[in-house]
Each structure stands twice: as C-alpha cells, then as structure tokens.
Symmetry: C3
Subunit: 319 residues, 3 copies
Amino acid sequence: MHNPQLNRHGELQHLLTLDGLPREVIVSILDHAAPFTEVAEREVKKLPLLRGKSIFNLFFENSTRTRTTFEIAAKRLTADVVNLNVSTSSTAKGESLLDTIDNLCAMHADMFVVRHAASGAPVLIAQHLLATGRDHIHVINAGDGRHAHPTQGLLDMYTIRHYKRDFGNLIVAIVGDVLHSRVARSQIAALGTLGVPEIRVIAPKTLLPTAIETMGVRTFNDMREGLRGVDVVMMLRLQNERMAGALLPTPQEYYKVWGLTPEKLELAKPDAIVMHPGPLNRGIEIDSAVADGAQAVILPQVTFGIAVRMAVMSMLAGQ
Amino acid sequence: MHNPQLNRHGELQHLLTLDGLPREVIVSILDHAAPFTEVAEREVKKLPLLRGKSIFNLFFENSTRTRTTFEIAAKRLTADVVNLNVSTSSTAKGESLLDTIDNLCAMHADMFVVRHAASGAPVLIAQHLLATGRDHIHVINAGDGRHAHPTQGLLDMYTIRHYKRDFGNLIVAIVGDVLHSRVARSQIAALGTLGVPEIRVIAPKTLLPTAIETMGVRTFNDMREGLRGVDVVMMLRLQNERMAGALLPTPQEYYKVWGLTPEKLELAKPDAIVMHPGPLNRGIEIDSAVADGAQAVILPQVTFGIAVRMAVMSMLAGQ
Amino acid sequence: MHNPQLNRHGELQHLLTLDGLPREVIVSILDHAAPFTEVAEREVKKLPLLRGKSIFNLFFENSTRTRTTFEIAAKRLTADVVNLNVSTSSTAKGESLLDTIDNLCAMHADMFVVRHAASGAPVLIAQHLLATGRDHIHVINAGDGRHAHPTQGLLDMYTIRHYKRDFGNLIVAIVGDVLHSRVARSQIAALGTLGVPEIRVIAPKTLLPTAIETMGVRTFNDMREGLRGVDVVMMLRLQNERMAGALLPTPQEYYKVWGLTPEKLELAKPDAIVMHPGPLNRGIEIDSAVADGAQAVILPQVTFGIAVRMAVMSMLAGQ
C-alpha cells in the first residue's frame, strides 16, 4: 500500500515521514507555523482551533520530553488530550496495536500522536485507518524506530529558514550517529526536498548506514574536513545505550574525535548556526561552550517545535 | 450497612453494582446515554454539564484502557479530571484507603472513579461517604476484584438494546472464565433485571462459580450445546495470568474447546450478535474471523461505553 | 547569589522557602487565600485567573499526593497543566536539571512546581532564571530534600490563624522526626516570623538537628513535658524508610513513647488543635482516636492547602 499521508487532493492527511513529502506541503507547514510563534508570546496562550477534539498521545516508547511538546501544543489549541503510556497497558495484556487503535477510534478519537520503537508503526496505523475508511482521524508520527521523526525534521527546517532565509545556497552538515538516527533521516529528506545543494554527513564509519550516498549526501569520516565552510551544523544525540556497545570507544574518546568544540566549529562559516535535537550530552557530542555559545540555536529549535506541532495539528484536524 | 447506591428518593447516588439496581434506574441510564452518542459525532465533542467539577480517577489497579474511557467521558463533559495511579503513591506510604478518600474530599472532590483489586472497595468508600454525611460526592465503580464492573454491564445492556430492541424474548449466552469475572457478574445481574428469559453460562467446570444456578442462569459445559439458538453471545476475556495456572490447559487447547470460531457461531441464531469486553485475545477465546466479522458488535460496545459513562457521570453530578 | 524569591519591589517572584520571607508577604498570601476557600464551595469551582498559562509540575521525586494538590489548584485557576514525572525521563537520559528547565522555558512555560530529593534544587532553578533574565517565569518549591516545603508551612499558618486568630500569644509544639523534616523547617521559620512567642520542638535526641536552638525553639525530649499547656500540636510524619533504620526502635516502641494518644493530648490546653501534614501513620506517630477526634484539624489543613496554593499561583502568575 502506498504511503497514505496525503489525501486524494494532495493535502496532508497524516504526518508520517518527510521522505517524499512534496516541497509545497513542507513549505505550507512552515508558513502555518509562523503565526503560532506569536501565540506563545501572548498573555493568554490559547486558541480554540481544536476545541472539543480528542487527541491521544500514544507513547509505546517512553519519552516525557517529546510527549510534553505535543501535549502543550494540543492544550494551547484547546483540544482534549489523553496520554497513554502503552508499554504497561493493553499491549502488555496482549492486545494488538491495531486493536488498540480500533478501540480508541470507537471512542471518537480525532488524532493519534504515536511514538513507537518499531519503524513503520505509524504508517501501519495510517494504512489501517485508510483501509477502514476512517479518513477523519489523523496520525502524527512522533518518532518510530530508526525510520522517521518528521516534526523534529520540520522544526529543524523552520529553524534553518528562520536564520538563513533561503535553502538554495547552503551547506548543511549532520554530525554523529546517523546509523541509528530517525532524526537524521527526516533531516536529510527535508533538506533535499527544500533544495539544499550540499548535505554533508559526518560520522565514524561504524555509524554510517550502508549506501547512504544514495540519499544525495556527501560523507565525511573526518570531522574537521566535513565542517569546513558549512552554514549549518546539525549535531545528533549520541544514545547512551549505544555508548556501552561495541560500535564506539569510550565517551571521552568519542568527544575527542567527534565532539563539537569551539575550535572545530571555527572551521565552519563564521555565521554558521549549531543545532541539536536534545537532550544534550554535554562533553560527549557537544562541548558546553558551543551548546551555550552565540552560534547555538538549540533553544529556539524547541520554541519553534511547539509552533510547528501546533501548525501540523491544526492543519490536520482544525475547524 | 446496606448498599448505599440509591439515595432516599430512589435516585442514583453512586454506581457500585448492577446487582439489585432497580430496572427503572438501569433503563433511565440507558435512556440518558442515547443523546450522548450524538455528541460524539459533533465537530465539537463537548458539553458543559460538569464544568468546574473535580473528578478523580482513583486507579489502585492499573488499567490504562478503562481509565481512558472515563477520562475522555469526563473531559467531554468539561470536568477537571485528575488521574491518580495509587499503587505507587500514598498507599505505598501506608496511608489507608479511607484516609486517601478523606484527603481528596477535603480538596472538594465531586466524584471518584475507583478501580481496585479488592472486591468491595468502592462500596466501602460509598459507605464511608454516607456515614460522614458527604452526600454531594459520588462514587463510580470502575471494576473491583471479582465483584462488579457496572459501567461495562450497562454498556453491554445498551448494546443489546440497540441491536435487539427488546430484552423480553432473548436467549443470551455468557462464555468463558465466569469464575474470575466481575464483568460476568454485572452482566448476569442486569440481564436478569431487564427481563431476559434465558441467560446461559457456558464454561469449563473449573471456571464456574459454585452455586451459579442461584443467579438464575442455565449452565453449559459444552460450548456447542450452549450456543444453540442464542440471540447474543457475550464472550469473556481469558486473563493471561490464569492461563499459566493449573485451572486451564494450554491456550491452544482452550481455543480448540472454548474459542468462538465461525463454525461454532453458526449454531447461534443467524442474526446473533457477538460481544466482548476487550481487550481481545485473538486465537484464544475468539477467532479473528469472528472478532472482525459481520456479527461482532465489539467496537460499537466501546462507542456506547463512552456515552453510558457520560450519562452516569452527568446523572450523578451534573448541574 | 542571594535568595531570589522577592523581586526588586519586594514582591513574591518565586516561592522557595519561608525562611527569611517577610512577615507582610506571608500575611498577604494568607489574606489572598481566604476568598479561594469559597471558590471550592461553589457549584462551578473555576476561576479564569491563569487561563492560557502553562504550568509544569516537575516532580523529580514521586509524590502523587502533593502533585494532586497543585494540579487541582492550577486547574481551578483554568491553567494548562502538564505533569512531568522526571525520574524516568530526560534526566535518566543524562540531561542536566538546568537543560530541562531551559527546554521548558523555550516552550513558554509560565510556572514550575518543583519537587526534588536534593535540597536547593528549586533555588538553583530560580537563580538560573534570574541570571538568564527570564523574570516572567515563576518557581514554586513543592518540597526539596530536607530543606523546605513552603506551601505546607503556609497552609499550616493559615490553619492556625483560622482556629486561633492571633499568633501573638500561642505556644506551638512540633513533634517527631524534626531532623529529616523539610516541613518542620518551614513551620519553624513561619511561626517565628509571625511572632509566635514559644515554639517547642519535641523529639528523640537522635531525631533533633544539632544546633536547633539557634532557630529560636525550645527542645523537649519528653513528650509529656513538651505538650503541657500548648495551643497547637503539629505532628510530623514518621517516614517509613527511617523506621527500618538504626535511628529508631520498632514502630510499636515509637508509638509508646512518641505517639500522640488522647491521654498525652490531655496535657495540652483543652482547646488545643492537632495538625498533621499527612499521610498519617495511624498507630505510629498518631493514635486514630486523636486523628479522628474533635481537636484534629487535619482535613481542614488539606482544604486550606488548595486555597493557599491557588493564592500563591495567582499572586505569581495571575493576570
């Protein structure tokens, strides 16, 4: 079955992946997000766009941080939000994923925000909704396995556009554990679609997917070389659970070779921005002097992230 | 002390059990629920009936699924809902159940939705509220031990009435682990009160309570025999935790003898409906071909469940 | 850095500790709380004072009970509330406390309610907000280590004022595990500031902080002696985790010597009130006959606690 994220009019029906999402849809989401950044500055941070809608935060993998961003976005849109941390619930009782979905649909859900350890779970849900004719219910992928994290990719694009205006002449570097990163996959897809002429991927060989070049990126195994002259540095988070593994040396050794220090950052353009999806591993993939420095736009990413999520939610289910 | 679920005017004060609940009260709840099924179809699924009321979901036993149904029902009535998963909280600190209740009453609770592993806990709370003169605070039993699950029983009755209109000439079969099932107890009580002339209980002997016949049911230890000519098949969920026990053979053997297959279902009336409280154990107590088949009304049960809970909540505490 | 809980106009910017909080500020909070006790009696327990504000309940230490009081207070003020149980979240991923705070600030948080096992965590957060110029964001300490629990101390003062009117001629006794109690520290500070002429601390020597007399209290190691003639008895909760330790005898022995029985209570003034922060250890630090007796004001404490929290929240962030 095809990827069902666009309806037959080419409008966003679900947000599942940025891979293959048309340029005009991505731009439209970014454009929609802009006014929501102003809502957050108001005395009363509240719009009635999703009043009376039922949004279920379906987290099959624990992530307080990501769940919080969707919860606050939904509440500012006046939706009714229900958090389901499902690891300890129905599926523990042996209920299948799609039975859980069918149940929540029968409760008249309007939207599912889905985080799942298995790549493809949100697509599976969207296909099921399509197959059962429930096209008034929407799915947002909040991160699935190594596959995609589209709202993260979108907020990253929003951030780049905010600081660099035009994608057309940028060099963007993505640095770190690309192999295991759904964030990197969403970033690469969006950067390509938005016309970034040079996307670099900087990583140790053991953390590069095979055949990554087919995604239209240049790979570097030397961080200094890769950072030379870039406009945007997108750091990836090093998963703690990887650090214990055989793919990597100690955190100290990783930092020495792959950590973003002020000295390495000097190789980028003087006005280069530094991004990170958080949470930070200070002193491992990023030096505190960089994370807290003038070129970092890590906290603006978070702010824009709320606006982007409000935009996606209201585009999908708004009145 | 008597069961305090009716006040001195015979109106519903708490919902604790369907056993002994007068027919007119049950019918009144079902009648109240009907318009709430329409609210769920609206663009804005919201009514202000419980605005400013404080509802506490007091789950001493974890059940994301049941908690969700009450939470969404309360939010659609515009109540303030607070979820308390108490297993890891005050009672872990040694606070007694009634001290917890007294505390929440002192915070001006309006309603408790109580799930507890011990039979009788919600009745105990209701008696305590009565004894302390707090008759403006209401209790809904969301499942207690093996005792009762009255909102499940009511939504089952709503479902049967929806599809069969009249209870007066039905044959209804309840199939499975009756011994451990609070759902079965609530169903049997309500079916009897509503005048169902023949209630059958189909179960292996090891899963039948002793003296079950005193509840006015016919027992069958042969599933085929028991299903013959019935109008309604109410499957029970086989608790995973039982399956490991000595009472039962393997899941495969259980399925062979007690699983509802299309072939067994053919013994029922051609227009018989199949119900299940969920979550489903596909391939154990029910075959997927039946669960997803034309006679299954399992998802409508969930939909009606929200309406029934909104009805009970608004009857108890609505303005 | 100085304690940043007052802004340059001497107004409450954060609520971190009662130690050093000026008398007029404490009295002002108590005065603000009074009308909120009436809100709780209304049919619709709801005020729009915090509409559109985002309040984060940041519980680094689990406490369903305390979290519930803040959650219900915030919801009655129409705030958007997000609960973060952080022990299993970002900090588990290695994110620092202040990175978590920066992130939530970037989501346009208006207020943090912070419970933390480490003394000083809320002060650290407030200092960080001050240092980064974010003076529109407020912190309420919901209990930090052995340091302070200011809303508990304030509700205790509200309760004393409610029953005794004037602080100026009272004898108040605090009884129990003072050594480990943040509640006791907040109580002693507030009682002193409000001009209570005699504050007694009654505890076994092993549970008294060294140099406690410098806080302006009289210490007693004999409970009967200490209770003689007091107007207010403030019992402390014996932490279960202490009971296993070497500092204490068995619960039975503790009760015999340090439990508040009707017989011991007779030594206090006939109109003395008995307070307890909850949850109660019946039969350990307090006899049920006392806890449920005519002199106990334990449940009114809870009621006043909601009003006091609503007062603090609306003073900090209200329109």
